[in-house]
Point group: C2
Chain length 362, copies 2
């Protein structure tokens, strides 16, 4: 993540991951979730915070989830069901359940199918926010599989040349296990900048860069500028302008719309604005393609080559997707998760009201 | 495709697609291919030209293929074989066969598996250039499936912050059938600009735009500039710079490397520069997810919504991936394919030498 998005040091309070996990789990249980679901949901959020993905950790998402459960916009006890199934595929009606809860179940089903026929694909419709899609790809990677996951929801992103937003930020991810190297985990919104990053930038007072958003008439804003007020801008696909490749970002957004929405058999938000979130999960059983040892050895050689690539002038090193996040995770497991003091105050207020464990400062 | 890449009108000669197909098929047969393979290979190239994908049509690729067959760098009669298989997956050793020939067979196998278990995934290693990857995604779409295809080969693209190229242009594609609307077909290199586009730009004398390539030390060139001499630049991932999202382009390139290379059980070119091309094919049987009628109706509503989106100032209309290519195809089927006169001269020379049908001007 670019430095501009990080919580300034003077505003940080370090919280142990165990404490954060305990509080979030307890809050979810107060929202009506079963214990296992509450713990799974907390794992999605806390893992994002551990890995430095603040956009999808508790800071940006917890208040939303509490609001949606409290208003009954989402269902704490979804009776999800498989509506169509084949040996390698399944489609699930999520019964308005939050994606961070249902995702674990869907990827488990994809993994089970992959063990049986080599690959498993599961889609969900009628659900809500999925959190960091990389989380579920990693669930497959931890089982000796290549995992992919994507989600489609919302209407914030302009198609190239368009003046009216038609797509969600539609993130997609892939994870693959390695041997000695940290695993590869790529997880990116197909918008120029993730929706949550705009809120994070507003919170830390950071400017946006050229090509990240467009004015309301669809014209890309090509200068450094503060985050406009909500409703005063539209978001752009990866690339920003056609010349810089926005048609590719738009295409990747459509790829997610096909995999998550069309393969769920439902309509996207651009046709039905009230449509709930759609998700896509894929598990590829590595053993169906090659020996797992061979795969992880090949991965190690590839990832080491990337990591040891000579950097361009002005840069310290070359990363691969997932490397710095693995380093963050090690550091934060030891030293705690740096939350913005306003976030900690929000937690203190809520845990006080709900009579559940408050956050423990490190 | 941006106007700067198009063949200038004064240099165009229009050739009928039937004539181009006949000459290319005959040339391939002279290279030692069996008749059906020669016709399949011609179909990949001519379809690209019909759809306005000059980068992957005869202009940029035919001379390469002839050179590679003539030098025995690729095998005109590959004895390809399945080295590992499960109900939903297969890995193929391509025996140095050209991808444009093997691709059809691999996607047919993926389609067959998808009919049986809902989804089919096939990878190929030890192969050569695959042509327009969208061609094979469309093969699945024409069978009532969602198709995906990607290919990994070469060492032209820098990882973000890197000074040494590590990836190929690693294109990926997805196709999905619609009802009344032309199908969605997204096909894009994960580099800022396709490798063939640089050659095309050099041929038509077009400048490169900022963020498309880097100087040899890895620093992105951020001004309009002529195409540098080969060896004097490196290519960048989609996004160009980190601030404009090159880490996402780099990640999508790695996604293709995982799917095509790692799931073939072999090493990428960054570790083994001599490694032949690796390909990835996926077919999702729509009927395993939802009724095909429902799917195509949903597609129509989505694609019509995109097509009818109000454009931003300065633009005529909003496209979706595959729309302008479908329009080009209609026009070119009627009026012929506009080839650069130098390309036609090259064909005349070769067809004369090989004693096969020459191109017929329209």
């Amino acid at each position: 993540m670019l430095d501009r998005f990080k919580v300034p040091k003077e505003d940080q309070i370090r919280i142990s991951q165990d404490s954060l996990r305990a509080s979030v789990t307890a809050i979810f249980k107060k929202m009506g979730l079963e214990s296992e679901d509450a713990a799974n949901g907390a794992d999605v959020l806390v893992t994002a915070d551990l890995r430095g993905i603040e956009t999808h950790g508790v800071s940006n998402k917890m208040a939303d989830y509490v609001r949606m459960y409290t208003s009954n916009e989402i269902n704490p006890r979804p009776e999800w069901r498989i509506v169509r199934e084949s040996p390698g595929t399944a489609v699930i009606d999520g019964d308005r359940g939050l994606g961070i809860i249902l995702g674990n179940k869907a990827m488990s089903l994809a993994i089970e199918k992959a063990r049986s026929v080599g690959v498993g694909i599961v889609t969900i419709y009628n659900s809500a926010h999925l959190g960091a899609v990389g989380h579920f790809s990693m669930q497959a990677a931890n089982e000796g599989m290549v995992g992919m996951c994507g989600t489609a929801l919302g209407l914030g992103i302009l198609p190239t040349y368009g003046a009216v937003p038609r797509l969600g930020t539609n993130p997609i991810s892939i994870a693959a296990p390695a041997g000695d190297e940290p695993p590869l985990l790529f997880d990116a919104a197909t918008s120029a900048v993730a929706g949550n990053k705009l809120r994070l930038a507003a919170r830390v007072g950071a400017d946006l860069l050229p090509g990240w958003v467009a004015s309301k008439d669809g014209t890309p804003i090509m200068e450094n500028a503060p985050v406009p007020e909500p409703g005063e801008y539209h978001m752009l696909p990866i690339g920003g302008t056609r010349e810089q490749g926005s048609h590719k970002g738009y295409g990747f957004g459509m790829m997610v719309e096909i995999l998550a929405t069309m393969l769920s058999g439902v309509l996207p938000n651009m046709v039905d604005p009230s449509a709930k979130a759609r998700h896509y999960f894929a598990a590829y059983d590595i053993a169906a393609f090659t020996d797992l040892d061979n795969f992880t050895s090949n991965m190690d050689q590839m990832l080491k080559t990337l990591r040891e690539t000579k950097p361009a002038p002005g840069h310290d090193r070359v990363l691969y997707p997932g490397l710095s996040e693995s380093e963050d995770e090690q550091e934060r497991r030891a030293n705690g998760i740096p939350l913005h003091q306003e976030v900690v105050e929000w937690f203190d207020d809520l845990t006080g009201k709900l009579l559940v464990p408050r956050l423990v400062r490190m």
